[in-house]
Symmetry: C2
Subunit: 698 residues, 2 copies
């Protein structure tokens, strides 16, 4: 039994009181385990260091999981009050390395560790209070307030695992050994690998909404594939098995690496797996907080690019094509060994749930003849992360999976010694960029399967596609492109044109348009689903989306950066995820802030209006457009700026409220109507008349 | 204990299996009790007779409650297959006497009783099967499929009560006595009534969504009123107390009756309560199936107009104003006597739940000094039926309450001996037109409360208001009124102009417009919420609605029949509730059928298209307009006409599907686009381009 990690709770049950107790226990176990894991860092100084240049310093991660609870609870309007707006802004984004997560440390003034520890305590008490007091009916479903608590817990479980990887990447002198964090002591020679047949079968993946364990958005829906007979390696590839590839100079031979792999070699000058430590002619092995003799019988930790290179090397040597398994093939293996789900699965049968704080021999955990089907290290797949049929984002976390649906994120299968909670559930699905390090290795297969290559990645999100059509598609009813018009009008009124902010930038069209006039333009949106489009236009040079014609029939549309004439502007623009009601401090010194169709979608528009002047330069311009369509799903009625009657039964209009709020710090210099049309189908449009107001900072 | 009727089930619980058993038992009790109640009718012949000229023959009611289950289950897409489309059309509508419920018997070819009995059996088996197999989590909420089953059961409970009234109205020779249906045997002199004080208090009504008993839409929401001290009669008004009014010639003296009351007297020539039977100089009393000596100590059964007349009579006599209680005052009485809800309430303490099959003495059931606070007979209120704050229709039954929000339906308070199920729950609210007979009497109060008079009845339903604005409001973006344009185009293509059908007539504008050309136009809509608007324009001469400006701020708009120029057309139009996929047989012989924006909102558009030719005359014209916005919330994907890819990956467009389906029986003679604009707020519009196709019957 794991001393450290309890199993996740079920969503159903008969007693809400008992369920609250179970959730509380599971929350405490998670929250305390997370803090325990950070004891690996030698002292508080280390929290300000990065273990990876592309990532945040460790203090970010320490604060992040606590702010996550508050940010999601605020976002879902379950609570109204922030605990520490500054922390909840600077600790807000980031696990995967995305272009819109700003990891440039000079942009952050990290707080003192004691303040963060104190903050974590307050959050813990707040969550405890909610666990006892939130409305609760069983089963807990994804629209229950309690789901957000479970989301926070499972999110922290993920960070327990990823933080352990970051700690392991820290220089040895910055970490310390924790007595309770026992390494496996079974070290020896690697067993000879062999191939085993998996018979033809149909694999059905995807979890039903009624499943009684918490799930992330990407786990739900349906997927079915007929998997033809194939062979799989009996064991994960061990350090011993991988050694041959290294010794044969595998890292130096271009033929084994694809373009992405070659780029990785070039950037890192890697000559061997990252957790191997060169020791004369031999290699030692970096465990969590120590360097030990090479455990040849443990699985090798590699990224997907290294795993693929090994497969190409072995294919050449044996004259047979070895591949990483597809997601469906892994499903077939799992089915073949009659894998049980967590709760029915005894954790002593696999190296997971922090029973050890290291890998263990690849020939230790036998699943009906195939070893380590789950546990030990994650296994890279050749299948990119994709949504199953019926995929839907969860409104509280719409960017958990969607940014990974880019055909660049490879699935990791199984689980590792550091996995717990949702990570060890049978239906869970995680993916990383191929150069990323995790507690991940691989097994290989011999398979005749044909994989789909999707080519250009067309936006699969209906709402994002609709916005792409709005910003990059055709015009209708003689109404000009709204993003263009807004950018033109805003540029006309701006006195200085050094730096502009496009707040609520959606798919980024106006951000680029503003860059025709401004030296630097930052586009910010709350939703990474949207920010990703502008970001992709900048990095990949195109936007591709579906334009709905009738029912489910749509046309694929692709617009390139050349067609748009933005090629020369792209270095002027950048895209970031951000909350307009709680922007990070480094977003400042603007000559223009443009907020198009934003204010009536904010959870607290007043917060935005009361502080935006601080981010504007002298003579700076604020442009607001909105049709003032207040709705409770976006903004609780108490936070509406207008569109209601006050206590004296006086009708409050939004434009009057804006004048009231902004008049102290701004002068209203222009007011006009500006139409826009959003296409829903070839026959159905939203035709809206927004009010555009231009405010000059006094 | 009632031998006949068990108490309703709770919505919560720990075991779904047990809950299914409870629902099944409750369903059987209800369904069998309903059939038992119809044994009062002497033989099968009687089922073809009406007990009230304004109502259907009894066979309708016998079939109606069974078809209700199927119609609602189809409507909610819980089942796809009808059991008997013909029965489910002719038995579909009707409890209250609404202008859109067609009770003209020549329009119906009623089936044989044995067929209806057989049908009831099949429905019972189907419902039994669903009770066991529908997905079920506890608590059952109003979006659970099982809610529809409970809705069917509670609907039948209502008809148990109203059918007993109809049976009691049947001539004595057409009914028989049922041994088990025992009358109360306590008959005697009426007690002297007196007034009791109810102290000032705050009354809060309205049920929370989490309440653990089934509720109808009108019970949910919030209502609060400060009720000043008032006096209430200790007893319900007995036959003995009412006798004085009758003997004093109360039914002949116009001063005691308002306009509606005078009209009632004129139409009925009533001289005494309807269940009193003149016997020489004296009166006897019609019980369910027998005539008995006048029970002076039982409550009088009267309609609201008679109750109000009595109050005016007594006011004049005593020099004090007596009124019927308001809903809030009744709430104060209920609060004062610490009324318990059903389940905590022992039915032997009140005359309800069919413990007797008659009233009983008004001085028998004491609630802390006030008698018959619930039970015996319903008590007419002076408050019209209105929705509480936060009122929402249930999607399966959007016309349960909304047609009664017309200030013409008075609430009935308490419950009667024939009430069971939801009818005896503390939060239930029912209302009837004031001339209607139920098992209802009254108590009176002396009160200084000021009641609200709402004047014109503005549409409170947001969607209906939006449609009123669409059909009767302003035009936008230079796009003409859509209903006018459709009517014009359709009239142009019609060869003969005797009779037209406006199918999916919504708020009725096009129905009136077509009447400029056609001698007779019938408007049909699935939703009574919509049909009610056209019907009100015809009967009351105006349409009044809210036009949203911004957020919750809206303008009241009123359009009169004179302004529209429809005064002379009103006798040409009629409005009916109906299902386009299962129209009643009497809707036929049309020269024009116009289906505007209908086909993509039908649950099975093919059913409509395949049979509509049968309802058209020779050379008849079918006009279809639609933007083809297929959506699963209206139409399961398997029933979409177009907007999908078929098995061979061929895109199927709706216009091509229409050509395929209709070409055998129709010739396509005209095709054009026709725009329309629906206002959501003063700044936000739906701008749509429908396709209008004109088909001539071959």
């Amino acid at each position: 039994m794991s001393k450290h990690s309890i199993y996740p709770i079920t969503l159903d049950g008969n007693s809400t009181e008992q369920k609250r107790q179970e959730i509380k226990e599971y929350f405490h176990n998670t929250y305390e385990l997370y803090e325990k894991v950070f004891e690996v860092l030698k002292d508080d100084e280390v929290f300000y260091k990065k273990s990876e240049i592309t990532r945040h310093p460790m203090i970010f991660y320490y604060g992040h999981t606590a702010t996550f609870f508050i940010n999601k609870l605020i976002n879902m309007k379950i609570i109204n009050e922030r605990i520490n707006p500054s922390f909840e802004s600077i600790f807000a984004v980031g696990v995967d390395e995305m272009s819109w997560d700003d990891v440039d440390s000079k942009n952050y003034n990290w707080p003192k560790m004691n303040e963060v520890r104190e903050y974590r305590k307050i959050v813990k008490d707040k969550v405890d209070e909610l666990i006892i007091n939130l409305p609760l009916t069983l089963p807990i479903t994804d629209d229950s307030p309690m789901w957000i608590i479970l989301m926070g817990i499972e999110h922290e479980r993920i960070h327990i695992e990823t933080s352990l990887v970051l700690h392991r990447q820290m220089p040895l002198e910055l970490v310390k050994e924790i007595d309770e964090f026992n390494l496996c002591d079974e070290v020896g020679d690697s067993p000879k690998n062999e191939m085993l047949k998996i018979p033809t079968c149909q694999v059905n993946l995807g979890k039903d909404k009624t499943h009684n364990l918490y799930g992330w958005d990407n786990e739900y829906g349906e997927f079915s594939e007929d998997v033809k007979e194939f062979q799989t390696s009996k064991y994960l590839v061990s350090n011993g098995e991988f050694m041959e590839f290294v010794k044969d100079g595998g890292y130096e031979k271009g033929e084994f690496w694809d373009d992405e792999g070659k780029k990785f070699l070039q950037l890192t000058s890697a000559k061997h797996p990252t957790f191997w430590v060169k020791d004369g002619e031999k290699f030692k092995y970096r465990a969590l907080s120590s360097i030990i003799h090479m455990p040849n019988n443990w699985p090798v930790d590699v990224n997907a690019l290294e795993a693929e290179a090994f497969c190409r090397y072995k294919s050449k040597k044996d004259g047979v094509e070895y591949l990483l398994p597809s997601e469906a093939e892994y499903g077939a293996i799992s089915r073949h060994v009659e894998m049980l789900d967590i709760l029915d699965f005894d954790e002593t049968n696999a190296n997971q749930n922090l029973v050890n704080f290291s890998s263990c021999p690849v020939d230790k955990h036998d699943f009906k003849g195939i070893y380590d089907v789950v546990g030990n290290v994650w296994q890279w797949s050749r299948t990119p992360m994709r949504g199953f049929d019926g995929f839907e984002v969860h409104p509280a976390y719409d960017d958990f999976s969607t940014p990974t649906f880019d055909e660049k994120h490879a699935l990791i299968l199984g689980s590792s010694w550091a996995s717990s909670g949702n990570l060890i559930m049978k239906n869970s699905r995680y993916a990383f960029r191929k150069h990323f390090y995790q507690n991940a290795g691989f097994r290989y297969v011999i398979s005749s399967a044909k994989d789909k290559d999707l080519g250009d990645i067309y936006e699969s999100d209906e709402l994002v596609s609709q916005y792409c059509e709005f910003q990059y598609g055709d015009t209708h009813f003689g109404v000009n492109n709204f993003a263009d018009e807004c950018a033109k009008i805003a540029s006309k009124f701006a006195t200085n044109k050094t730096k502009a902010l496009d707040l609520g930038c959606a798919t980024g069209r106006a951000t680029f348009e503003l860059a025709k006039e401004f030296d630097k333009v930052e586009g910010i949106d709350f939703s990474v689903r949207f920010v990703g489009v502008g970001s992709k236009l900048k990095s990949d040079g195109y936007v591709a989306f579906h334009s709905v014609e009738e029912g489910e029939i749509s046309t694929n549309k692709k617009v390139t950066i050349e067609e748009l004439g933005y090629e020369k502007l792209k270095n002027r623009v950048s895209f970031w995820q951000g909350d307009a009601c709680n922007l990070k401090p480094n977003f400042n010194s603007y000559d223009l802030v443009m907020a198009t169709n934003l204010i009536d979608r904010l959870y607290n528009p007043r917060l935005f209006l009361d502080t935006i002047d601080e981010r504007l330069n002298k003579d700076g311009i604020l442009v607001i457009t909105s049709p003032y369509t207040w709705q409770e799903s976006s903004t609780n009625k108490e936070f509406w700026l207008g569109g209601y009657k006050d206590e004296d039964d006086v009708e409050i209009r939004t434009i009057d409220a804006l004048k009231n709020i902004l008049s102290q710090k701004f002068e209203l210099i222009h007011l006009q109507d500006l139409e826009f049309v959003i296409k829903e189908t070839v026959r159905k449009y939203q035709h809206t008349i927004s009010e555009l107001s231009v405010w000059k900072k006094k």
